[in-house]
């Protein structure tokens, strides 16, 4: 009896000491810890980038990927650990302000030296602290094969016979509504993929779609160097172009593969799968979604048929409106590490975007359109959507819409706006209330963000 008690006690003490030790992780100085933001390329980092980097430099690369929508919280808890990330991502000026104590000045780094346009870096106290690594574009992705089928349709009521003719909202609406009426003849369930609104999946609307009205509104503010700068100074936003937003959003909802009451259960993956399987002709998303279309099993879309049109919503002069092009992807190096660890982190980023192996991986596997001077024209990504973004960026008479949403005062604003959009779509909230909540939320979130 006594013996077994002694044994039990020893076990408990052992257990307790194990538990106490559990939090301290092994530290390796020749390891770079990268906290990745992009789940869609997580496997490429762990299976291809990390082994190649270790082989060429002898430095280990540890990649952890945060779950979709959980980056900020993952970063926060990882930063508090004894072995924090060396390379982490921030989403723009507002995100960087929250991490200003952790981001090191990058002036003397090799990584900063290869940035083509130095003004693209985000600064803290006059020093570059966050460098964009991928320029992205989004709009409405369409399936050219299904569109052609429509243009050839005998029963079509709209006199449009090529995508080039669709360069404003009125034409888009006429075509979409006629296509929806002919959906059986076209072999689709609806024109637009489902307007996905499940938890964490409403960013296509509360961030991306709202970009266009925000841009139109901030454009009218004078005395600022950029749209985002104007937006960051806006203590209130009227949502002046809410009717334009509503027009396109309604078009999505009413000409979709599913009823508006069901969108609360759909994820972005569901929407992209519908497009990949040829069940719909259009989906609003960006060039990062190419993998979600071409990589889906049973994919019925040919790479040559995936193209973009801009988010037309009836703004004046929208014939010259391009895709929404910008970046939400900036990399920072952790300032709280040893100099050796910082140098390793710099080495990794330089390797990825400047060495031949790294560049090849970026171009062929990661598919980033990068702003670095180490990439030649021929080294731009090969996926069809990225190519189309580059095409739109260089198109005559068309200018890209910047990512004005970087000026949205907080994530909370986006969450509330997204929740209101869902309620509106389900018929439980009037549009006037959505607009009123938008205005109140903007004002209160701006105030909170500037008080803290």
């Amino acid at each position: 009896m006594k013996k077994s008690l002694v044994l039990l006690t020893t076990l408990l003490v052992l257990g307790a000491s194990l538990f106490a030790n559990g939090t301290s992780e092994s530290k390796a100085t020749d390891e770079v810890y990268f906290l990745n933001f992009k789940p869609e390329v997580a496997d490429i980092y762990t299976e291809e980038v990390a082994p190649a980097f270790e082989k060429e430099t002898g430095i280990k690369l540890k990649v952890v990927t945060a779950a979709s929508g959980q980056y900020a919280s993952t970063l926060k808890s990882e930063m508090a650990k004894s072995n924090p990330p060396a390379v982490f991502q921030t989403n723009g000026p507002i995100g960087l302000a929250a991490d200003k104590d952790n981001a090191m000045p990058l002036t003397d780094t090799k990584f900063y030296s290869i940035l083509g346009d130095k003004s693209m870096a985000l600064q803290i106290d006059g020093q570059p602290a966050a460098i964009p690594y991928a320029v992205e574009g989004y709009g409405i992705i369409y399936n050219a094969a299904i569109m052609q089928k429509y243009f050839d349709l005998a029963s079509k009521k709209v006199n449009v016979s090529s995508m080039e003719e669709i360069n404003n909202f009125a034409t888009l609406k006429a075509v979409v509504e006629d296509m929806q009426a002919n959906k059986d003849a076209l072999g689709i369930k609806g024109v637009f993929a489902s307007t996905s609104m499940s938890a964490g999946n409403d960013w296509r609307w509360q961030t991306h779609l709202v970009d266009v009205p925000l841009w139109a509104e901030f454009k009218e503010m004078s005395g600022y160097n950029s749209i985002v700068e104007a937006g960051l100074a806006a203590s209130t936003s009227d949502f002046k172009y809410n009717q334009n937003f509503k027009a396109l959003f309604d078009l999505y909802l009413n000409n979709s593969t599913i009823a508006p009451t069901l969108i609360g259960s759909k994820s972005v993956d569901d929407s992209m799968a519908e497009f990949a399987l040829g069940q719909c002709a259009m989906v609003q998303n960006g060039n990062w979604g190419a993998g979600q279309i071409l990589g889906v099993t049973g994919n019925k879309v040919s790479p040559d048929d995936i193209k973009f049109i801009p988010l037309y919503m009836g703004l004046d002069g929208e014939e010259s409106q391009g895709l929404c092009v910008g970046t939400e992807n900036y990399l920072c190096i952790n300032n709280n590490l040893s100099d050796a660890a910082k140098a390793n982190a710099d080495e990794f980023l330089y390797w990825l975007f400047a060495s031949d192996t790294g560049k090849k991986l970026v171009q062929e596997k990661l598919g980033f359109i990068t702003p670095f001077n180490t990439f030649t024209e021929a080294e731009m990504p090969s996926d069809p959507l990225a190519k189309d973004v580059v095409k739109w960026m260089n198109k005559d008479g068309v200018s890209s819409v910047p990512w004005a949403f970087a000026a949205i005062p907080s994530q909370e604003f986006k969450n509330n706006f997204g929740a209101d959009l869902l309620q509106y779509a389900q018929g439980q909230m009037t549009w006037a209330t959505v607009v009123k909540n938008y205005q109140n939320n903007w004002a209160s979130e701006y105030k909170l963000a500037h008080n803290n």
């Binding site: 938890a199 009451t261 389900q426």
Partner: protein, 292 residues
């Protein structure tokens, strides 16, 4: 004489207990301190600080507490939680008790049934949440709605989920209580001419009051602390209408930049509320416990 020996042995036992108390309690105390006591004190201190992670806190006094009731979302979460807890405490205990009665009546295959009812308890909350989300959305599809169409679907979805998960566990506790009721008591009641209903309410239930105490305590605190299931099933949607206290605290802490301290302050308020409720409940159900 016998009584004397018993008393002496008891004294000896007490002496031994005193002597080795520190030794035996130490491992437990160390674990308790590391895993519970120290974090709790740190949490309390952090609620008076502004910080982004636990290493860079600066003292700001009561500032965080001013934001706890901002926008009324904490109050909404509190009411939703209260409503949910009341419904789930009542339903779980009634169902669990009924099952326990059924399964102590020598039904063939009793043990198989007991095992089956207990099994859902072994599955993690997040997994259950996702599974039930698929099941319930699949069912609601018939009516062209989803779990997040209206808060009422989320509410009843959570109730069904919690019942399914917890009924088995509570049932086992009730079965243990029922088996321990002395047969003589029931027989005496029968001889005295009590019908089934009277036996149930005047003999069985008073005899298993300790089980009722523990079950209502567990379901009450489980209801209040519910997090995984809430996160997986609705994540608070639509909007924040089905967000419960724990999820609201999590979203405040992790979802809003600069609100870590406010999340912590909410957690302190939450702890106080749960402690008061749980202690009150224990006090009242304990009073009803009787010696058989």
């Amino acid at each position: 004489m016998a009584a004397y020996i018993l008393k002496r042995e008891g004294l000896g036992m007490q002496k031994a207990l005193k002597k080795y108390f520190a030794l035996f309690a130490l491992p437990g105390l160390i674990c308790f301190a590391i895993a519970f006591f120290i974090p709790m004190i740190m949490g309390l201190i952090l609620s008076f600080c502004k910080f982004t992670d636990v290493t860079n806190a600066t003292w700001i006094g009561l500032e965080n507490y001013k934001y706890v009731f901002l926008n009324g979302e904490f109050t909404n979460a509190l009411w939703f939680t209260v409503k949910f807890t009341i419904v789930s405490v009542v339903s779980i205990n009634i169902i669990a008790f009924s099952l326990a009665i059924l399964l102590t009546r020598n039904v063939p295959g009793t043990n198989v049934y007991r095992t089956i009812f207990f099994m859902p308890n072994l599955i993690g909350g997040i997994v259950l949440g996702w599974i039930w989300q698929i099941i319930l959305n699949g069912f609601l599809l018939k009516y062209q709605v989803t779990l997040v169409t209206d808060p009422k679907y989320g509410f009843w979805g959570l109730v069904i989920l919690m019942n399914w998960q917890n009924v088995g566990y509570m049932m086992i506790i009730y079965i243990a209580g029922l088996i321990n009721i002395p047969k003589e008591l029931i027989e005496a009641a029968e001889i005295d001419g009590a019908n089934r209903r009277d036996t149930l309410f005047h003999v069985t239930i008073p005899s298993i009051m300790p089980s009722i105490t523990i079950c209502s305590f567990l379901t009450l605190t489980n209801g209040f602390k519910l997090f995984d299931q809430n996160l997986a099933l609705t994540n608070g949607g639509p909007g924040k209408t089905t967000e419960m206290l724990a999820l609201n605290i999590f979203n405040t802490f992790y979802g809003r930049v600069g609100f870590e301290g406010v999340g912590q302050a909410k957690a302190v308020v939450f702890t106080i509320i749960v402690a008061i409720l749980a202690l009150t409940q224990l006090h009242f159900t304990r009073k009803k416990e009787v010696e058989a």
